[in-house]
Amino acid sequence: MESFTPIAALIGGLMIGSAAALLLWVNGRIAGVSGIAWNLIARPREDSGWRLAFLVGLVLGAVIYRLASGDTLVVTIEASWPVLTLGGVLVGFGTQLSGGCTSGHGVCGIARLSPRSVFATVMFMSTGMATVFVVRHLL
């Protein structure tokens, strides 16, 4: 557990929760990234302004952190190109089918105590853990 970073995780989590609270209280919208992104792509003429603004903000927040921290954070994507592509298709297909991802089900849905979201979060967490177990320890 040497890489455990509880303080940074807590601060980051509080900010994510604040973002979800702000979007809900002022705009009445759920901060679920998959829903925001897939609706923006599938229905670009309908209610797209705020969705685009949110996604631009998402990238901008990461840019601001990079600049402010002096580029100390390293992003490591170990997956090979075929695995990366397969994983992307599965994540897109699965989040559309189940109507949410880590933010929509995992944070906003659990905050509403939605049975669907609690169920989905347990399922994608355990399936993700099982997948890593198979890839890292069995294959």
Binding site: A37, W38, V56, G92, F93, T102, F124
Partner: protein
């Protein structure tokens, strides 16, 4: 216009949170999912921190008639725990476990300009659009024992 600015601000806050907590780094996320390896529980703390704010904020909003700058709350309407939810969540979990990216961090990681981020998001979008083409059949709720 005000709503666009709020959405932008919420996005920036969200993106900052994902980067500060390092959830934007697939290696960090995979270390959380690797429970039998050198386990890193950070992701659980991130979710707990987010819920510490979101839970009371959502509770409070559920008791209100309307948000500050919109006509109504856009609450999700789906209620049933059905096969689609189960299948979708499991497929998502497999993809998440293969790469370590879920949609939010993958989009935010554009800030790092890595080709793999763009390919992953392109593949995600393609997968989502395929799922949208599935017939919108009314699927049965899962039996309670499932």
């Amino acid at each position: 216009m005000a709503r666009m600015l709020i959405a932008l601000t919420a996005g920036v806050l969200f993106g900052l949170g994902l980067t500060i907590s390092e959830m934007i780094n697939p290696a960090k996320v995979l270390a959380f999912l690797d429970v039998t390896g050198d386990w890193d529980p950070s992701l659980a703390i991130v979710m707990a921190g987010a819920l510490l704010i979101a839970f009371p904020a959502y509770r409070a909003a559920m008791g209100r008639a309307r948000p500050l700058l919109a006509e109504r709350f856009d609450w999700p309407v789906a209620r049933d725990v059905e096969r689609r939810l189960l299948a979708g969540a499991m497929l998502f979990g497999v993809g998440w476990g293969l790469v370590g990216f879920c949609p939010g961090p993958a989009v935010a990681s554009f800030a790092f300009g890595l080709a793999k981020s763009f390919v992953f998001v392109g593949a995600m979008a393609a997968g989502a659009m395929v799922a949208r083409m599935l017939p919108a059949e009314r699927s049965e709720p899962l039996p309670a024992s499932a």
